[in-house]
Amino acid sequence: MQNQTDILSTAQKVSPFGGDLEGASGDMIINIGPQHPSTHGVLQLVVTLNGETIKKVEPHLGFIHRSIEKMCESLTYRQFIYVTSRMDYLSSHINNHGCALCVEKGMQIEVPERAKVIRVLMDELTRIASHELWWGAMAMDLGAFTPFFLSFRERETITDIMEDTCGARLTMNYIVPGGVMAELHPDFQKKVKAFIKLFREKADQYNELVTGNIIFQSRMKNVGVLSKEDAISYGCTGPTARGSGVNCDIRKLYPYEVYDKLKFDEVIETGCDSFSRYLVRVKEMYQSISIIEQLIDNIPEGDFQAKTKAVLKLPKGEFYTRVETARGELGVYIVSEGATTPYRIKFRSPGFSNLSALNHMAKGGKIGDLVAMMGTLDLVIPDIDR
């Protein structure tokens, strides 16, 4: 009998990941995910705890790996764009945009002005939709349920606009090499203006409800501190890095399309904590609104698509473009052998590098704050795994 309990206790103590579950140091290893609502997808976190204090966070990836990069190698340059909507599904339009830019760079296609403006308008609408969803989910991670419905109400207006013009609500596939797939819907301008009016009315409610809330602030301030140097060395981009004071907005640094002609601020906060990352995203929504306001009445006349050959063939060589998605910098790298399909495609996804900073941020923090830190990273798991 004595022997049996010994075996049982030994079996309980050995973790499937190598270490002791409850060793001499008193550490405890717990699994969060892959089926946990706060991980926003199939992400598994193996957390080493000492009491409530986090000693190590180890993300285990690959649960939703669909080998999109390999898949793209068998698709033509027109076809592979639609697959990238499935990477970062919340900024699917911007993913498509990056791929189309890379193909256009290789083919040296001149995109008409009208198409450029339409693309930027759609990009910014997607960015607002993505940040709206993040805002609701972020508040829900911390236990507030109402903001989720409020943000989805406004996001619905954007998805309706997308549905009118692009034909789909989430995976738009509206961008083709050389322009956009179809002409804007006749009601587009009217609906976008109605949305801007609605957003300006409702966004103050957001700030009153969540940003000013004392419980929210004390759970976010000085939590998950990521210094500027660390943000750079972990390769963080987008709002995650800008919350730590890094200048990394691709729209400002390496302007594409018509961003160099627009007036907007790169939102930078120097608090380095979860709250400043939160503020960056909230302020970015206002910046996107201002970009849309500048463009919506100034859409140039002309073609929405450049004339391209039926079969696209990139010349032999390597091509790289980058765009600013709602989560950070997306790089598209195409190696071409001169055939109709790419030889190799590599996506530098923002979520993967942002996640790598999680261990550093969480070390020394409390397990209850881990969800808040993950929320401010704005993780989209299909983007990390691809």
Binding site: R78, Q79, Y82, G167, V176
Partner: protein, 156 residues
């Protein structure tokens, strides 16, 4: 000093919570701002361009515009479309290529619209139907050209 800060914090906290509760009270008393929809009973009018499934347009004489050029089959990234062609005898005694079956695998389709864009004769288009659940997977493989239909005159 810390006692004053302590009391200030408490009042600040109560104030911030009341500001938030103001909105809760607003939605509690304003029922008209309800945005949910009782889906199966009430159905929303979908957008004209909404991509639900691929259909082939037929006119009143049961004629379609598909020449069987397989442009859509080549444009499709997933192998959703398969065109089976046959040879028809024209009145002049010549052999002419025509479609026998336009097979469409709805279970593979991602509604990317590339086939519709590729079609040179506008024979296919996207339809708004989106309630595609069936009990058997084989029901999702469809033949889009109606039985007995033939190509419209003048479409090459």
């Amino acid at each position: 000093m810390s006692a004053i800060k302590y009391i200030k914090d408490i009042f600040g906290a109560v104030k911030s919570l009341l500001v938030g509760m103001k909105h809760t009270g607003y939605y509690f008393t304003h029922h008209k701002e309800i945005i949910t929809q009782n889906y199966p009973e009430e159905k929303q009018q979908l957008a004209e361009r909404f991509r639900g499934e691929v259909v082939m347009t037929h006119d009143s004489n049961n004629e379609h515009k598909c020449t069987g050029c397989t442009a859509c089959e080549l444009a499709c990234p997933n192998g959703t479309i398969k065109i089976v062609t046959k040879f028809e005898q024209t009145p002049e005694g010549k052999k002419k290529k025509a479609i026998d079956k336009f097979v469409y695998h709805l279970e593979l389709c991602t509604m990317c619209n590339l086939c519709v864009v590729a079609c040179p004769t506008d024979a296919i288009k996207m339809d708004q139907a989106f309630e595609h659940s069936v009990f058997d997977r084989s029901q999702l493989t469809k033949v889009l050209n109606k039985p007995g239909s033939k190509i419209m005159e003048g479409v090459e």
